[in-house]
């Protein structure tokens, strides 16, 4: 794991959590969408909070795809769930909201889960279809180890 990879995982967590909160806030303003007027769900993107949430979720998506290119899905998901903890701590210390004992328990459980997966390998699959090198792009370049199939710690 390099610093850049840690930053990518942090980006997945922060952009995802912030984007979801903005979407939720926006949809409260838009109001309920009737099953008979499903087209309203498309118009909802015109709400500035929903639009801002979508921009953040695009940033989340770029970071998420990057992480999935070098780590297992079952590694990336728990590792980036720290976003929920960040959101709760922000609610407590920035917005001064009350956090119930139940929510503190949730924060501890998520942190424990992240600790469990963080100590293990990032990639466990031996994907035969994964490119060993990118020799089709730069044949003349000295091929480097991409670390395929090798367990990284």
């Amino acid at each position: 794991m390099t610093l850049r990879k840690y930053l990518v995982l942090a980006g997945v967590a922060v952009f995802g959590a912030a984007g979801d909160s903005m979407l939720a806030h926006g949809m409260k303003q838009v109001g309920r969408i009737s099953i008979h007027h499903l087209q309203e769900v498309v118009l909802a993107v015109l709400n500035p909070w929903v639009a801002g949430g979508i921009l953040l979720l695009l940033a989340f998506f770029a970071a998420y795809m990057s992480a999935l290119s070098w780590a297992d899905l079952t590694y990336v998901l728990p590792a980036t769930s720290m976003g929920y903890v960040v959101l709760a701590l922000m609610a407590r210390f920035v917005l001064h909201e009350h956090i119930s004992p139940l929510r503190w328990t949730g924060i501890i459980l998520i942190s424990a889960g992240v600790g469990f997966v963080a100590g293990g390998p990032t990639l466990t699959t031996h994907t035969h279809d994964r490119p060993e090198t990118f020799e089709d792009l730069e044949a003349e370049e000295e091929p480097e180890e991409v670390g395929v199939g090798e367990v990284e710690r």
Binding site: R4, K5, D20, L23, A24, M27, K28, V30, G31, R32, I33, I35, V41, V42, A44, V50, F61, Y64, M65, S66, L68, S69, W70, D72, L73, T74, Y75, L77, P78, S81, Y84, A88, L102, R103, T105, G106, I107, I108, L109, I110, S111, A112, G113, V114, F116, V117, G119, G120, T124, T125, T127, D129, R130, P131, F134, L137, E138, E144, V146, G147
Partner: protein, 126 residues
């Protein structure tokens, strides 16, 4: 009616999320390490490889379906129900699906992590 619509949209949301995560994870393994690729051949090459991957396109369609299912669910129920319910179920669904379809080695450590995070997410927003 409210409960039926809420839980139907959460179920559809979880299905699309798991499907999207699985095919996107497979797509990105086929694309290769994007940091490495970016350093060697530039951003454009990364984008071209991703857009040319069929799994990536299927994943985008699934994620888009999930996104609209989430907007629909949020319009009927509080985020404090939708977000934790969908996230917890997606965590567990992904752990099972990654083991079956991606052949990831979901060992005891990862099962415990998935269960702890799923329970924690359910509590934190519940």
């Amino acid at each position: 009616m409210k409960h039926l619509l809420t839980w139907s949209s959460i179920t559809i949301l979880v299905f699309f999320s798991v499907l999207g995560d699985i095919v996107l994870s497979r797509a990105m393994k086929q694309v290769g390490d994007v940091h490495e690729l970016w350093d060697r051949a530039g951003l454009w090459s990364v984008v071209r490889r991703m857009l040319g991957n069929a799994n990536f396109v299927i994943g985008i369609v699934a994620m888009t379906g999930g996104f609209f299912a989430m907007l629909f669910a949020l319009s009927w129920a509080d985020v404090s129900l939708v977000a934790p319910a969908a996230a917890s179920l997606t965590f567990l669904g992904n752990a099972v699906a990654a083991k079956i379809f991606l052949k990831e080695k979901v060992d005891r450590r990862r099962w415990i992590a998935a269960a702890l995070v799923a329970a924690g997410v359910a509590l934190i927003a519940g």
